[in-house]
């Protein structure tokens, strides 16, 4: 426990209507109570449970329960260990796979890019040398690290989980404290199984009510980012609450938490409940005494009366299918709207940013989103390449053909997702409709492997970043849900999936 007792009870709540949301402003508390007595949020419980050492004026040493490792952000960390003569402290709490760099074409062929191959081989060798479990390319369990962790039951409620990858926030969907770290920190975790952290503030994003037909978890999270901007979450750990969040399946919850980092947040989380336990039951690496584990996990959700540093409340009924029009995920709007123009923003920096984004995207501002024509469609990534995503996209594509002007691909999130999709015949649905059906990996989410956009090509993508050049230099990315992507592939332009038959 850190420091002296803090002010913890809010003495009043002010509801201030500021624009599209109601902001609940918490007033400074006046009562001191002992730490143990004060109602705690999910985040506070997770934090408290992992403090190894806290000292005034220093970063807290936080214990890490699960460390995920991939080929791009780890080689320099292992090299650092070697140079210092250090070992991996808890290899059994560390798992590794190659995902970013891997080709999604035939796995029996050698990797053509020698530098990619070297990086993947380096990971394999490092894992051997340091005794870390490595899921290689021939293992059906290989896949995007944020897909395979949950899929195998490594990811569990109550854990601290890190990875040298910003989308580690995905795992927060289970009620875990999960976040991305840099390579120096990867080395720190390998060597000490701990991390130095300043305690973030807490932000509650509550979505009340129910979403309408055709509105998905992806739309919820894109909408939230549009509301708070790509830096609105900076310095915070987000907890998503409210009826619309509770109604989501486990995989959909991962989609929401995945994009927390796009709002700048350190982490995003959703309290565990029956949906969580049901999903985990029977998975390979869950605790042997599962019922005892569940009994512990039930104590994690935020206590009645626990307060967040900031709470924002939204109404699910206001959320329509979302499409990004610019070059960051906060530049997003509803499918039935028009692309905005710089003059619509009051802030000078926003005006400039919008003008630059429109120029890059080859848009003028003012066009209807549904008039935008596409060259490519990508269904994949750690945001939207789990089995439910593929089922949803297949349901839209079934019986249709991809438009002649569009080239479309589906990249499952893991070998197991691919296998299951094939057992369900989804691969046939996609292939008959004219989609390319690939092996698992990050693929065109970041275009580090051969899958990439050509300059000027426009793509509807189910991934999480529409940054300049993200999917290939000069490529133009619009982020959407799997349903919206599939419908766009068929129509050749964006359509409102709420009207799809």
């Amino acid at each position: 426990m850190q420091g002296s007792p803090r002010c913890i009870a809010a003495v009043g709540t002010v509801y201030a209507s500021t624009g599209p949301f109601v902001e609940v402003l918490k007033l400074e508390g006046r009562f001191d109570m002992s730490e143990a007595a004060h109602p705690r949020t999910l985040f506070e419980k997770l934090w408290d449970n992992h403090v190894v050492h806290a000292e005034e004026g220093r970063q807290t040493i936080l214990y890490i329960d699960l460390h995920l490792v991939h080929e791009v952000t780890s080689p320099q960390a292992f090299e650092g260990l070697r140079l210092a003569g250090r070992q991996v402290r808890r290899p059994e709490l560390t798992i590794a796979t190659a995902d970013h760099n891997v080709p999604t074409s035939d796995r029996s062929l050698p990797i053509l890019d020698p530098i990619s191959k070297q990086q993947i081989d380096t990971l394999s060798n490092n894992c051997k040398e340091f005794g870390v479990k490595y899921y290689d390319l021939n293992d059906v369990r290989q896949g995007i690290v944020h897909v395979i962790g949950p899929e195998m039951g490594y990811t569990q409620p109550g854990m601290t989980i890190v990875c040298g990858d910003s989308h580690t926030s995905t795992h927060g969907a289970f009620g875990a404290l999960a976040f991305g770290i840099g390579t120096s920190e990867v080395e720190h975790v390998l060597a000490t199984q701990t991390l130095l952290q300043y305690k973030p503030k807490t932000l509650e994003l509550r979505v009340d009510g129910q979403v309408g037909r055709g509105v998905t978890a992806k739309d919820i999270v894109l909408y939230l980012i549009g509301q708070i901007s790509t830096s609105g979450g900076t310095g915070y750990c987000v907890e998503y609450t409210g009826e619309a969040i509770r109604a989501l399946t486990m995989e959909n919850r991962m989609t929401v938490c995945n994009m927390s980092i796009e709002a700048g947040a350190r982490a995003g989380m959703i309290a565990p409940d029956e949906v969580t336990y049901e999903y985990l039951k029977g998975r390979e690496f869950v605790p042997a005494d599962f019922d005892a584990a569940v009994a512990k996990w039930r104590k994690l959700p935020s206590d009645e009366g626990a307060t967040y540093d900031k709470s924002l409340v939204y109404d699910a009924a206001n959320i329509a299918p979302q499409i990004t029009w610019g070059t960051n995920p906060g530049q997003v709007t509803s499918v039935d709207k028009k692309v905005p123009m710089p003059a619509e923003f009051s802030d000078e920096t926003e005006q400039k940013t919008t003008a630059l984004a429109l120029e890059y995207m080859g848009l003028n501002g003012g066009e209807s989103l549904t008039d935008i024509k596409l060259d490519r469609v990508f269904i994949g990534s750690c945001t939207n390449a789990r089995i439910e995503d593929l089922r949803a996209a297949a349901a839209v594509a079934k019986g249709h053909k991809v438009a002649g002007s569009v080239s479309a691909m589906v990249v499952p999130g893991s070998g197991q997702v691919k296998k299951q999709a094939e057992e369900e015949g989804l691969d046939q649905v996609f292939k008959e409709a004219g989609f390319d059906w690939r092996e698992a990996g990050c693929s065109m989410c970041l275009a580090m492997n051969p899958d990439k956009l050509d300059p000027g090509e426009r793509c509807a993508s189910t991934s999480n970043r529409n940054f300049e050049g993200r999917q290939g230099k000069g490529g133009r990315t619009h982020l959407v849900s799997p349903e919206m992507a599939a419908a766009a592939a068929v129509a050749g332009h964006f359509v409102d999936v709420r009207e799809w038959n």
Partner: protein, 195 residues
């Protein structure tokens, strides 16, 4: 890690907000397994034309930017991917200080592990600095980490925030892992209590 106490250097302005780490160092350069040598790839897609030649219109490529070691830019710098290759590239290129209204969380953290000092100032102060940089040829700033000030030779002075412990580590070039391992008995005890 390089220790940082004070640094005086030439300023280059990059008048863009939300510069993400995909821009700072594009993915094609993340395949390297070394920690050094990323500087030549900094801002690649902006710095180079499609044929690989230098784009002289890009701020960092202009002759007057040669030798700059302080980057002045807009809000939310370093957003997106956690890649530490971004600070590696900035540092390798020759930057020691980045001045902006705000930084993304992971990037900010990564800077301190690599001897780079990110300085957050208010939007007004940043605007003032942009104007001064445009006005004075070879504009210079001095960052003093001990005093926590940023000053120029024409009367500009601003103090900036930095957590005391980060400041201490950066000023002394301390290695985080060695510091944590001083507490290894506490890690042992934590593990024992949970076993």
């Amino acid at each position: 890690m390089n220790a940082f106490t004070t640094h005086a250097g030439k300023v280059v302005s990059l008048d863009r907000a939300n510069v993400d780490t995909d821009q700072i160092i594009p993915k094609q350069f993340l395949k390297r397994i070394e920690r050094t040598g990323f500087g030549e790839f900094l801002f690649w897609d902006w710095a180079r034309r499609d044929d690989g030649t230098l784009n002289m219109a890009f701020e960092l490529n202009r002759p007057e930017a040669a030798g700059a070691s302080i980057l002045l830019t807009r809000r939310n710098f370093g957003s997106g991917s956690s890649r530490e290759h971004a600070p590696w590239a900035l540092e390798d290129y020759g930057f020691r200080v980045i001045v902006a209204p705000s930084f993304a969380d992971i990037f900010y953290n990564n800077c301190f592990k690599n001897g780079l000092l990110p300085i957050p100032l208010s939007e007004e102060q940043i605007e003032e600095l942009f104007q001064r940089a445009a006005k004075h040829e070879g504009y210079q700033l001095t960052a003093d980490l001990e005093k926590q000030t940023l000053t120029d030779e024409h009367g500009f002075t601003a103090s900036f925030e930095v957590e005391p412990f980060r400041r201490h580590c950066l000023m002394n070039g301390l290695d985080d892992i060695a510091l944590t391992l001083e507490q290894v008995d506490k890690i042992d005890a934590f593990e024992a209590a949970r076993a």
